[in-house]
């Protein structure tokens, strides 16, 4: 990374050896259902609490990724995890089960690419040989923590988003078969003063634009150099804003090659998900499940995933603060 830049371009790109994706019933009724490794028929997973169910989602995604790589738990040298829950308890308790050295992160819904970027840096720099990146979210744990007690069944405005129930994990190694992580662009906090937690997409859109532009500029690339650029979870309100902002900034993206994980994961018109999906798992399962499968089929050769995160807390909102946002982007090539 040169001074003034924020992209790590890996001279010897690390490889995504395998992934694991687990989702809940709503995601299982969405258009990408067939791309996920495991679809649960309910939100509880036979656990006594939703938080324990979320932890299990992450543990299962991790187990599947390790198993898909034909490796064992003991082969994982580091686990880089994070999630939306206070003190990232899903990741921490999963780390206890995994048993590997653990780096806990928080980037709200950008955690998917924050963890993949860090895991890739560790492998690319030789700091570790096999590093697991993983994240999770659960509609019910997030609703009760960030919004209202879930039992209230409170109504939501159409700008609100629906938290994906699921978990995604990627095992990154120095060599082997699989798509390569060629570069990662670290996000800056962007905050244009939006205070409405039921309109996260609009709040996060400028952060996505900022990171995508920085990525292209740092690497001297054009949008056309990518078969697909996806944002994490801007959904129906935020994604068109990002598109408009990029256009105004002289970086026009085609609608066919600029998509959003929050819009891909659900059939937004048919399913009751307001503006679309959100949550740490949203970009994780869409990338590790759907997009990497498309790469494997040869449909996509180079993609950029700009995972977006709204870094507010209920307390910062109550104290009148606006919503600081971030986006971390990772470039993956077949």
């Amino acid at each position: 990374m040169k001074r003034g830049e924020r992209t790590w371009a890996f001279p010897t790109p690390p490889v995504i050896l395998a992934t694991g994706t687990v989702v809940g019933p709503d995601e299982g009724e969405g258009p990408l259902a067939a791309d996920f490794d495991l679809v649960h028929p309910d939100m509880e997973l036979q656990q006594p609490t939703w938080e324990k169910a979320e932890r299990l989602l992450l543990e299962q995604a991790v187990d599947i990724a390790i198993s898909n790589a034909k490796l064992k738990k003991e082969d994982v040298e580091l686990f880089v995890g994070g999630d939306l829950l206070n003190q990232i308890i899903s990741s921490t308790f999963a780390a206890r089960t995994i048993g590997a050295p653990y780096i806990g992160t928080f980037g709200a819904c950008s955690t998917s690419m924050e963890t993949l970027a860090l895991a890739s840096l560790m492998v690319a720099s030789g700091a570790a040989g096999k590093v697991l990146a993983g994240t999770s979210s659960h509609n019910c744990t997030v609703e009760k923590q960030f919004r209202y007690p879930t039992e209230y069944g409170s109504q939501k405005p159409p700008t609100a988003q629906y938290t994906v129930t699921g978990a995604g994990a990627a095992l990154v190694g120095a060599s082997g078969d699989g798509p390569k992580v060629t570069a990662a662009t670290i996000g800056k906090v962007v905050d244009l003063g939006i205070k409405d937690p039921f309109n996260m997409g609009a709040a996060m859109a400028p952060a996505a634009v900022d990171t995508i532009q920085a990525h292209l500029q740092d690497l001297g690339r054009e949008p056309g150099d990518y078969d697909l650029i996806v944002t994490g979870d801007l959904a129906g309100v935020g994604h068109p804003i990002a598109e408009e902002l990029l256009k105004r900034n002289g970086v026009p993206l085609e609608q066919t090659t600029f998509r959003d994980c929050g819009l891909l994961i659900y059939d937004v018109g048919r399913q009751k998900v307001q503006a679309g999906g959100s949550g740490c798992a949203c970009s994780a399962v869409v990338t590790y499940g759907h997009l990497l499968k498309r790469m494997k089929k040869g449909e996509l050769k180079r993609i950029l995933v700009a995972a977006t995160g709204a870094l507010l807390s209920p307390l910062s909102f109550q104290q009148g603060e606006s919503i600081p946002c971030i986006a971390h982007a990772v470039s993956i090539e077949a």
Copy 2:
């Protein structure tokens, strides 16, 4: 890092170019007061809320570190931050002010060395030239979030610890004057089943022992190779447990060279801090203020800081979970 190990030994060790330490009134009445850059006479810092005061502590520590390095904000290429508050809002809002690309982390009170380890890896690997590591804690924000409403003034058992009000930041660069970060050992989650959140020291002691032993083993070193080994915040209950465990495991440490930041920062008998200090800022300000000053004076040549973290949340406690703990250790040499 070799397989089965968890220590990053940096062939070209990054340098701590400068640090900034800011504390509150209790720390200003402790034995290390003269070692901190800024001591506030009250906990409010003229802010409307304690959370905003905590954020300001971190912003001030960062400003001081940058100024002590005779650099400008624009020279910071990355900020690696984290804190104890839900969604690490202190770090995130500070990151908004700093303006640099931002990696958010969570390791509870181990965040000080988690951020220093990551910042050092980024510099050592050439991923960035100048990286800022920083963390904060505030007695009142943490009390209300993790324990009881602060106004209750609830009584505490003598095993409880007192959260340090303060912030510490270190600016890490590839070359220059200053102590070198020679190695970092990443912690595993260790959980021996302790469930009492008023006895964090006992819960965290085995994690500290695990990481210290892994560090020594990975590098083929003896305790005597260090002038000082400090734990983060085990305090009066946890630190003797760690000492005893190390002794039983055949790694005897001398009382003169095995200390704890939570015991160093306060005059534990005189000040009303129960078993001693805790909080992300505890090991940060003791290391970046006190210990690095001792290194500069030539009193210490090689130290190991094993910052300890209790990764529970109030919710995980309420759901009957035990306390998962971790310790990240960084070796610093003059």
